[in-house]
């Protein structure tokens, strides 16, 4: 069995989602899906986090919060938009209070579609994120050497 060894720590924030994607994100950490197999820990503290899982279409009140949390994460960092809402705004994109998609607020690296995004799909997203994280780390190392 191939292994994916890295230690990307997750930060999950609900940017006005319906909750469905959030519980699926949480479900990923529980026994059946257990993302800790890849060294993933759900930290909840942006200062320690590497991967930002954002769900929901971001409302006005959340916008500043999301930006702030994003800024508090040290480089290299990967943002994964989980769920259709976070990808495009989904069914809520016409609501008066929804910005529509996490990428309207912060740069998103991986989109995980689905309503609700399935745990398998989230795992795929995270694994892709890990790959991206590796690349970014290498780029950062090269940059700091230069």
């Amino acid at each position: 069995m191939a292994k994916i060894h890295k230690s990307p720590w997750l930060l999950h924030y609900d940017g006005s989602s319906c909750n469905g994607c959030d519980i699926e994100v949480l479900a990923c950490t529980t026994p059946v899906y257990d993302v800790e197999r890849f060294g993933v820990i759900n930290t909840g503290n942006p200062m320690h986090a590497d991967i930002f899982l954002i769900t929901g279409g971001i409302n006005s009140q959340n916008e500043a919060v999301v930006k702030q949390i994003y800024d508090q994460m040290p480089q290299p960092k990967v943002v994964i938009a989980v769920g259709t809402c976070a990808c495009t705004g989904g069914i809520f994109k016409e609501c008066y209070n929804i910005k529509g998609g996490a990428d309207t607020v912060i740069p998103v690296d991986i989109y995980v579609p689905g309503c609700a995004a399935r745990p398998e799909s989230i795992i795929d997203g995270v694994v892709k994120g890990i790959g991206l994280f590796k690349e970014k780390a290498a780029a950062l190392a090269a940059q700091s050497k230069a």
Partner: protein, 292 residues
């Protein structure tokens, strides 16, 4: 003990601790995961984590934090050297609490709500543990008439646990606090989320957090060393017994961690002090009577 052996032990401590304790930590995570019905990460995960943390960009809310954390690490290592080189046990404990002070200063330097709340709790934890730690030293003194670690080992014909069961119980109890295990994991959350997020370490980024982790490993080595001290005697073979004892205690801590909820600091303080007074106090009293 000759100066050479002292140096040897000190060097071994400094060099091996990160590997040994790191590995134990890895197994800890694996076992915890299995207890929860999960597969868990690889046992080398703690090392991957460390590597990653050192590679992260350095963000800081207050520059002072970094040097305080480095001082914390240095002091812990220094205390460990005093212990493993076989010097005075009481001084080890005093210098450990000095080290803790650096951690506390580091975390309050940022004026962050979670770090500060965590710091206050960390202080309570230190306060809850300190009497028992000092009493352990007292216990060894009662049993062997010396505070010196090397003498405790070489001068006791039988393992001191025979005289110090109460002290041992008390010490294992506060180990749960020291290892930041579940019922008492109140100032930093190693496991399951809590109100103060990461508490003391909330504001520590990348390498700062890595250093705190390493410092914790060094500290755990000392604590496990003290557990071992209960079981060794001048007979070299008792070392095996000590290692087994350490592993058993370590496993017990994992089990407790996985079978209890985090309590509040008031209850922790009461329980810790209560246990100290009852277990260690009784033992102390009896030993004093025996000594006359």
């Amino acid at each position: 003990m000759t100066i050479q052996t002292r140096v040897l032990f000190a060097v071994l401590y400094v060099v091996l601790t990160p590997f040994v304790i790191g590995l134990l930590d890895g197994f800890d995570r694996k076992i915890s995961a299995r207890m929860q019905g999960r597969r868990g990460p690889s046992v080398l995960q703690p090392f991957f984590d460390l590597k990653k943390l050192f590679e992260k960009e350095f963000l800081t809310a207050n520059k002072m934090q970094l040097f305080l954390i480095r001082s914390y690490l240095c002091f812990i290592v220094l205390s460990g050297i005093i212990f493993f080189a076989g010097f005075d046990l009481l001084l080890v404990i005093f210098s450990l609490s000095t080290a803790a002070m650096f951690l506390i200063l580091a975390s309050t330097a940022t004026h962050s709500p979670f770090a500060s709340q965590g710091t206050s709790r960390e202080l309570v934890q230190i306060m809850a543990c300190e009497p028992m730690e000092l009493l352990v030293a007292v216990g060894f003194y009662l049993a062997t008439s010396t505070f010196t670690v090397s003498d405790i080992v070489t001068k006791s014909p039988v393992a001191n646990i025979r005289f110090l069961p109460g002290f041992f119980v008390g010490f294992v109890f506060i180990l749960t606090i020291k290892f930041r295990k579940s019922p008492f994991d109140i100032s930093t959350s190693h496991h399951a989320h809590q109100e103060v997020i990461k508490g003391v370490t909330s504001e520590m980024v990348g390498k700062e957090y890595a250093m705190v982790t390493i410092a914790e490993w060094y500290e755990n080595a000392i604590l496990l060393g003290i557990v071992g001290l209960f079981f060794v005697s001048s007979n070299i073979l008792t070392v095996i017994g000590a290692v087994i004892a350490i592993l058993v205690v370590w496993f017990l801590e994992i089990l407790i961690d996985n079978t209890s909820a985090r309590v509040k600091w008031q209850l922790m303080l009461k329980l810790a002090w209560g246990t100290t007074i009852v277990a260690a106090g009784m033992n102390l009293f009896l030993l004093e009577i025996i000594r006359g």
